[in-house]
């Protein structure tokens, strides 16, 4: 069972020192995500969602506890090793897309390939990989467009293509529909769902219960603690979440 877990975190804490005050952002969190799962993490602001996301995304390290990502202990890695892990095992989808505005769509998608360490890939193959990633998110003939020439939904699709291009073990989406209108948001959620059915492991942070409904499981974070089932979400739970303000 452990073998097929993409994420295996055990008793993770994150404590920030603010002057003389210690702030506990994460307080002993344990969580496992299996390969091919689609997990939603919900919680109010200040619950520690972003901190958890940063640690899951290897942008930050926990104060204590262990984190196995695809079988590798990343909780004590240095900055350089973490950069390699982010490059090879994680694809980020941000709320604000985070595309380079002066670069074209295909150049944005190429970026993770540029920073690859393992194995030489010819320029022709690189472009083919990036081009295919753009096609897989439904962007045809948009390779040479710059983000400023695209709609929000299209920009987020470029960001998803960028997240996929290195075939990572984990796709991390942080409020992926937060900046989009409901129609574009729906399209993005459908793309994520399609990726999940193709076997991608997805962890998504969201405020939106409608988005969480696309996930197989939802966990709730409150005051730095996980509070919720990690089993497939039953219909009543969805109704209950939907009723929250």
């Amino acid at each position: 069972m452990t073998e097929s877990n993409i994420i295996e975190i055990n008793q993770i804490t994150k404590i920030y020192q603010m002057g003389n005050v210690q702030v506990t952002a994460l307080d002993g969190i344990s969580l496992s995500v299996q390969a091919g799962e689609f997990l939603a993490i919900m919680g109010p602001s200040g619950s520690g969602k972003s901190t958890l996301m940063n640690i899951l995304g290897c942008l930050d390290r926990p104060t204590s506890g262990s984190y196995l990502l695809a079988g590798e202990d990343v909780s004590r890695m240095n900055r350089e090793q973490l950069a390699h892990i982010r490059n090879q095992k994680i694809g980020f989808v941000f709320q604000s897309y985070n595309l380079l505005t002066q670069a074209t769509a295909i150049q944005n998608v190429l970026m993770p390939i540029v920073y690859r360490r393992n194995g030489h890939i010819s320029t022709k193959d690189r472009y083919e990989m990036a081009h295919n990633a753009l096609i897989s998110v439904g962007l045809v003939d948009r390779d040479q467009h710059k983000p400023t020439e695209m709609s929000g939904g299209q920009q987020q699709r470029v960001a998803i293509a960028r997240a996929l291009v290195n075939s990572p073990a984990l796709v991390l989406a942080d409020e992926p529909t937060g900046n989009l209108d409901s129609h574009s948001g729906l399209e993005i959620m459908e793309i994520l769902q399609k990726l999940n059915t193709e076997g991608r492991t997805i962890v998504m942070i969201t405020h939106d219960a409608k988005n969480a409904a696309y996930a197989e499981k939802t966990v709730y974070l409150k005051d730095g603690k996980l509070n919720g089932n990690t089993s497939p979400m039953p219909a009543p739970a969805y109704a209950e979440v939907g009723g929250l303000p």
Binding site: L59, H84, R86, N87, N98, L100, Q102, P112, Y115, R162
Partner: protein, 412 residues
Amino acid sequence: MKLSEVLRIAGEGIARNKLRALLTMLGVIIGVAAVIIMIAISAGTEATISDNIKNLGTNLLFVTQSMGGQQAPSRTAGMNENFLTYDDAEAINNSISGISGVVVERDVTELVKYGSTSVDSLFVIGTTPAYPEVRDVSQGSGRFITQNDIDNSAKVVVLGYSTAQTLFGDADPVGEKIYVGDIKLTVVGVMAKKGIVGNTDYDERVYIPLTLVFEKFTFSPFARVQGNQVGTILVQVTNLSDMNQVITQIQILLAKRHDTTVSNLPFSVTTQEDIISTQESTTAAFRELLAWVAAVSLVVGGIGIMNIMLVSVTERTREIGIRQATGATPGDIRGQFLTEALLLSLTGGLIGVITGVGGSWLFYKLGDMRTLVMPNSILLAFASAAIVGIFFGFYPANKAAQLDPIEALRHE
């Protein structure tokens, strides 16, 4: 990461702000240009000095009016005690032993005219027959000034090579009459081509008998007292080993003739070596000045690069965050910004090399200064530019590399 990728990313970073990049490079451009011009001038001067030694030998003495000794002539005394005169030259020629020739020179500038062709402000050298031998200029056609011309203040003129070309083209000037100032003179000879030695263009001038200058070309109100005043007396010493002894003899003779002591003598007796070393120390001072300009410009240029790179790092914090999130290591980020700084300084270096080569040419054309652009100086200039880029680019690049990816991604 492939080198081409690093260069492409850095190049795009610079291309986004072309004017800013150019202004940033200005310090490096000036620094590099100064290095190249500095070396070109000193190489040119060294070549000139070695030419001078070759052309004139070291056995010449120059007797000239020295700055400190110049005083208003005493009219009541009526004697030229403070001025170097033709009589002094004759006294040297007659009473000093160990010398093989004396040449006297007195220069004026005049308008020289033949038919409708004229040359303004041409050097007219009043001199004596030994001039070609002592100054090492060969006769082209006709003859030079003779003792007979001197004795009779003959109205004859010998043309320098270029001046003959300018006035007569390919025609033979010997026997023709030209105007030097208001005086009509007969051309008796043309000198062979010699070119520029030191600061003197031997081809762009004419020669007339020294006595003719005294009689016809001294127009100042002081003509009477200045009558026999001469500019330079050149003394050719037979044996190099007698040099110091001859100098002393001349000083004693002149002191006696001008009723003063050797230490108060208003004339200087210098050797070719003295003149060369004066020239050398002048260029050395100039070279030192340019070296400082170069060093200061390169440092200022480096600070400019550092400043702009720091601005760039702040402006592109979010880009850095995105690159970190997609897998750029601190080393990748450092490399990107260091490459950008290096690209800036090397582009500045390249523009500086072009400016420096062009500037050396301008110094030669306008400043009348011989310059030689040395290939080594281009290499040195490029190396300095590269060192400046790496040294001053390192701090901003390191700052970028140390950015926290979470903070960087949040940056607006």
